[in-house]
């Protein structure tokens, strides 16, 4: 029987008096690729922010059956759920390689161990086009390259669940296709995927299932 990788129960997220997500409940099975879709400003990203502990939430989140503490990103990362955030949130002055390397921080503090690790090597190998740019400052890379670095940083954390927020935002069509190819490859290799997308059409080329979000309310399809 397939395990539940992520269980979200009655999740609500508010910013001051503004309720962004109201009572969202859904599960994602291990090995599944799940899309969270809906128009912009309806609370898709806030669901991921609440689930990954980047903002405080009400309601419950379980990662492989373990209840996640509120607003504890480190706990979430250590338990195998990693966020690739909207707008990438890279470290612009650090090299692309260092950005990816810091993905390992949640499971080791040793730079030698991180450099020799399988997750780091795999993350770099998935993007051969980044190889000539690994020593370049991340802030000077193109939008597509930065998105690849952000995904590679996520992979270096050795995630069991990778949550990717708007991976194609602002990218040219050819680059967006390449990003989706890599996400499909990551999924093939056994990682559970959660992809937030405004456009359900693109998301459903990759995902088996989608959670539709309208006005902060989530519904399964």
């Amino acid at each position: 029987m397939t395990r539940v990788a992520l269980a979200v129960k009655g999740l609500s997220v508010s910013y001051g008096n503004v309720v962004a997500v109201h009572d969202a409940t859904f599960t994602v099975a291990e090995g599944e690729a799940c899309a969270i879709t809906g128009p912009n400003g309806n609370g898709k990203s806030s669901i991921l922010m609440g689930v990954t502990g980047m903002v405080r939430r009400r309601g419950g989140v379980e990662v492989f059956g373990a209840p996640a503490p509120n607003a504890d990103v480190r706990w979430i990362a250590r338990h195998g759920l990693t966020l690739v955030p909207e707008r990438r949130q890279l470290y612009p002055g650090l090299s692309a390689a260092d950005n990816i390397l810091l993905g390992c921080y949640c499971w080791t503090k040793s730079i030698a161990k991180a450099r020799r690790s399988d997750p780091f090597s795999r993350a770099v190998e998935l993007f051969p086009e980044l190889k000539p740019h690994l020593k370049q400052a991340a802030g000077t890379l193109s939008g597509g390259q930065q998105q690849m670095v952000a995904i590679a940083r996520g992979l270096a954390s050795d995630p069991k669940i990778l949550a990717v927020d708007e991976p194609c935002l602002g990218l040219a069509e050819a680059i967006a296709r390449r990003v989706y190819d890599v996400l499909a490859r990551i999924h093939e290799l056994g990682t559970t995927l959660i992809v937030v997308e405004e456009a359900p059409k693109r998301a459903l080329t990759l995902c088996d299932r989608r959670v539709e979000v309208r006005n902060g309310v989530a519904g399964g399809r």
Binding site: T52, M54, V73, R74, A77, R78, T82, L83, P85, R88, Q89, L90, Y91, P92, G93, L94, D98, L101, L102, G103, C104, Y105, C106, T108, K109, S110, I111, A114, R153, S157
Partner: protein
């Protein structure tokens, strides 16, 4: 040889400013707070060791260790009690209040306590390396100056190695580059804020102990050191420790040359006029605009 001796004196003073500027810059990168109390920790180091050794009769190593430990515990407590509530609590303070106020208040608090404990006279920690100034080809350098330079090089080198070759150092840089991105990678930005605050307080106290035999300290000396370290850090936009280091050295040498050639009395006034002119001439080049706009 006057010029050479002034430059040497300037490098010694400048290395202190440089270290303090790096302390201010590094902590600002992590916390977005400007440490205006860093010089006061130096003053506590100097006057604390003097008090424990000369007045209370403790052996010198015990006086130094006790003083550094008190500074570390106090800085840790201040972070836990004040800065944690100010920055991490549900009613966190924003903007200029948190950037300046909490360390400005801390500076006044430390000065007040130091006045009560150590009085208002000039004191200094005992010299760690006794003897006459060393001379080579008419160039003179105080032994304490050599210790100051040595400490600056060792601490600067260790810090550079930490940033360059450890994952913890890169995580520290990541906190400064993008705190949200750092949290996503599981980096505890609050832990780094605490670590660097305590670390820089101890480093400042150590420099106070080593340097005070050259200049002597009163309970008010910390503010001047903080101001110069703050200025040097500003030249790096508060975010570039390398540039802050060079600015610290530059200010130290400029101060010595102006004191030697222009006027011992008005040297500082002329120096601040030159520094202000530089900022007016190249605000962007010196990083001021990026500091203001974040």
């Amino acid at each position: 040889m006057k010029f050479g001796n002034l430059v040497i004196a300037g490098i010694v003073t400048g290395s202190i400013y440089a270290v303090f500027a790096v302390c201010v810059s590094v902590w600002y990168r992590v916390s977005n707070i400007l440490n205006l109390a860093v010089g006061d920790f130096a003053m506590v180091g100097a006057l604390g060791v003097d008090n424990l050794y000369r007045v209370r009769g403790l052996p010198l190593p015990a006086a130094i260790i006790t003083t550094l430990a008190v500074v570390a515990v106090f800085a840790y407590a201040y972070d836990i009690v004040v800065l944690r509530i100010a920055q991490d609590g549900p009613r966190r303070a924003e903007g200029i209040v948190v950037t300046f106020f909490f360390t400005f208040a801390l500076s006044f608090f430390i000065d007040g306590v130091a006045k009560m404990l150590f009085g208002t006279d000039v004191h200094a920690a005992p010299a760690l390396w006794n003897g006459q100034a060393l001379s080579v080809a008419n160039l003179h350098i105080e032994r304490a100056g050599i210790l100051v330079l040595g400490c600056a090089v060792i601490i600067g080198g260790m810090f550079w190695l930490y940033i360059r070759y450890t994952l913890g150092g890169k995580a520290l840089e990541a906190c400064g580059e993008n705190p949200i991105g750092a949290r996503i990678a599981g980096i505890d930005t609050r832990r780094y804020r605490r670590l660097i605050f305590v670390g820089t307080a101890v480093i400042a106290a150590l420099f106070g102990i080593v340097e005070s035999p050259i200049t002597g300290y009163t309970y008010l000396s910390g503010a001047t050191i903080s101001l110069t370290g703050f200025l040097a850090a500003a030249y790096g936009g508060f975010r570039k420790p390398g540039r802050a280091l060079l600015a610290g050295l530059f200010i130290g040498i400029l101060e010595a040359l102006l004191g030697g050639y222009v006027s011992a009395e008005y040297g500082d006034t002329v120096m601040y006029a030159i520094l202000a002119a530089l900022v007016l001439a190249w605000p962007r080049g010196l990083g001021f605009e990026s500091a203001v706009s974040g």
